[in-house]
Point group: C2
Chain length 450, copies 2
């Protein structure tokens, strides 16, 4: 009888593993259990579905269950919720939601990709049907149903993280009045406060009413009660973060790691033999802070899923870790960050110099050049780059990747100054903004005692 | 008496050295001798002046002679042509072009930044006044005078390198009919032929008549005689490349290096004590091929000029080398390249796998996503990245910098696949095109014997 791999979770961390396991082991029986209706979708695309930039929910589906069945011989079962893992008996307990019955499926190999679950603060009224999460395509379908054919006048977005900001923009694009609240005093907590302040100004300029340092107390009759007063709301979006969906693994006795995510090694193996995990439910290693972290991002899920799949098939692959790179676009402004922010470096006990540059996206004299702010952190003594940020219009966000690659290569701020980057007046300034920030950091390092 | 630094050449390689020398040595007397009328200008901006995208020639001047005098106490003398260097007597012979007299200036330290000179093929009729180079602001002024207030119907651009392509586009933008000829069978010789073919198609689509594999025989009465027949021309632009302007240094007895550029070490020191050189006239080191090369680019001139200036002032700085990064934009298509092309890798005797990806600039479902072709070369055995290229619209050109930083860090193709790059559907696809190309290269490496 063929060996059987059971995969829990049909999004990136699960299906990247399943397809890579298939590639390495044509003989393997592969069953993928997904509690929702969809596989391999772009949850990151939901704001653009709500804004109308993307036409249909189907466009966000990268591959359907049927495609996995037909092209990869993976037995995908949607609306199948795994409710228990028995490590000794090597089987999972599954609730078939459509059939409303419980079954057990044995496995030789198990891959856990249960993803992340939205944090829903325990607040009065939070379960009302006009309060929406933005986690999966079921949420997206509910949101679309709520906005289509109906005029939404007032939207309150709770949480000024990436998804919160993108949803705020989306509802402005739909013509709604949008109030954004967060108990923090800045949006996007993983960028430095001064650059976050630029983002606040962009949002305000676009018409979003931004209320920071405000605590939500609860939800009344189409109002949001806060420490700053009561805001009317036809619809609330919760962008209050996620936590790793690791309860199932914990209950099965698997070790948990950073932020209670499933603890894995570089081959994505959990603490139990033959059990792997990848994606938003697993922890990972931060290449700059050298600490275990939890990062819930599709890019990481795809990469760790691939590594798990290669290993599940008896091959050899490792995932060395993340840099904490993140990217978004708010009203034509792109915001990229990688490595450590100042707050993260402080928390890690690292000492550093800060370099900042106010520059332009193209040669200053070239039509279409727009302001760019670039930031680089470099370690005291070694001069090693620790992280940085870039904020500006004119498509500059992806330039953060230059810094990500520099971090991966262990380059110093001076190396970055010297780096042979591309220049053409129509495309970029002669000195790249990140290089100007690195020059500033080199100067600051020079003023520090070693 | 104060020590005196004489700088020959008032563009980037000269003035970056002069200003950095000033910073390190407030006591130094600094005299900069420039044969033209301008200092520190963006020659790369000339095509955009001709196209009309940039309004005035003055916008291309980064800093004027007077600004250098006032802000840096540098005695800039324009229209001063250095005609000889006497290393024993430690003095230069100078022709003051306005005064039409010869003088001698002694130096303690000398910095040679004579730049590059355009290659003018020895062809009949090439000195006619309707045949234009695109090397400096004097050329720009002549070009502007030729096109302003006059309808240019037919332009022939000789040479399909970066400047040739940019000038071809500029004259299309002015409403001229443009014929582009090159004896090579592809434009942009430092990118791979298949990607260069994409560029040819873009040019043709924009209305440029591209004639490749065609040799120019000479210039008649407003016609260009070629191996492919006679083309009418109101104006000819020569984009036939440059050579290091190293005659002065050679005649003084300084050693020459790659392509007869002035040989320098990592501190930009020439073969003679106290004599430095930087910019387009000096050779440099290629970090991937490990060979001495000549690269005439403003970015490199600024960096090597800075290093020379620090060292001239008694400080310590080194320039480790270049990656051969280049970037341009042709009709909204941006073309980036770094490291070795296939032809360069072949010439260097390196064996490699090629990875290519046809991808999109943003998530495929996102409005505004455009096709992108990415190419990565990785070394057989080691998997080390050797170079790559990216071509596409939607501002993707600067993404070549990710690969440049990866080359500087010595990353492998697999490292690039794993690299934590930024993703947001509005900005980029989940898998960066360069990562997809790297995946393809990894697969190709796997098919090679080690």
């Amino acid at each position: 009888m063929a060996e059987r791999l059971v995969v829990i979770g049909g999004d990136a961390g699960g299906m990247a593993a399943a397809t890579n396991a298939r590639r390495g082991r044509p003989d393997l029986e592969i069953i993928a259990l997904e509690m929702g209706r969809h596989t391999s979708y772009s949850a990151c695309g939901i704001p653009y579905l709500v804004s109308g930039a993307v036409d249909t929910l189907d466009e966000l589906v990268v591959r359907t269950p049927q495609e996995f069945r037909d092209q990869h011989r993976i037995d995908v079962r949607t609306r199948h919720l795994v409710t228990g893992i028995d490590l000794d008996a090597r089987r999972v307990q599954v609730r078939a939601l459509e059939q409303n019955r419980t079954l057990h499926i044995g496995f030789d190999l198990l891959h856990i990709a249960t993803g992340a679950a939205p944090v829903r603060p325990n607040l009065p009224g939070i379960d009302a049907d006009w309060i929406h999460g933005v986690q999966n395509l079921e949420d997206a379908a509910r949101l679309l149903a709520a906005v289509q054919g109906r005029r939404i006048r007032n939207v309150v977005v709770v949480g000024a993280g990436y998804i919160g900001l993108e949803m705020a923009e989306a509802f402005i694009d739909r013509g709604a009045g949008v109030t954004l609240v967060d108990r923090a005093t800045q949006p996007l907590r993983n960028i430095d406060p001064d650059l976050a302040n630029n983002v606040t100004q962009v949002l305000s300029g676009y018409g979003v009413k931004v209320h920071l340092g405000v605590t939500v107390h609860g939800f009344g009759d189409h109002v949001v009660e806060t420490s700053d007063g009561t805001y009317p709301a036809d619809l609330v979006v919760l962008g209050t973060g996620v936590r790793p969906a690791s309860d199932l693994a914990r209950d099965a006795g698997l070790a948990l790691g950073a932020r209670d995510a499933i603890k894995v090694n570089t081959r994505q193996q959990t603490s139990a033999a033959g059990i792997y995990s990848a994606g938003d439910c697993a922890d990972t290693f931060h290449l700059v802070s050298r600490e275990r972290v939890h990062i819930a991002l599709g890019t990481v899920a795809n990469k760790t899923g691939r590594v798990a799949g290669v290993n599940l098939a008896g091959g050899y692959a490792t995932f060395s870790g993340v840099l904490g790179t993140a990217l978004t676009r708010i009203c034509e402004y792109e915001i990229g960050r990688t490595g450590l922010s100042q707050a993260e470096a402080d928390a890690a006990g690292v000492e550093y110099a800060v370099g900042t540059a106010e520059a332009t996206s193209r040669a200053g004299y070239f039509p279409g050049a727009r302001p760019v702010t670039a930031r680089v952190l470099a370690e005291r003594g070694s001069g090693r780059l620790l992280g940085g940020q870039i904020v500006g219009a004119d498509r500059v966000g992806k330039r953060i990747d230059t810094l990500a690659a520099a971090l991966a290569g262990g380059l110093t701020a001076l190396d970055l100054v010297e780096l042979d980057l591309g220049y053409s007046p129509a495309v970029s300034p002669l000195w790249d903004p990140l290089q100007l920030a690195a020059q500033d950091a080199v100067a600051a390092l020079g003023r520090m005692s070693r």
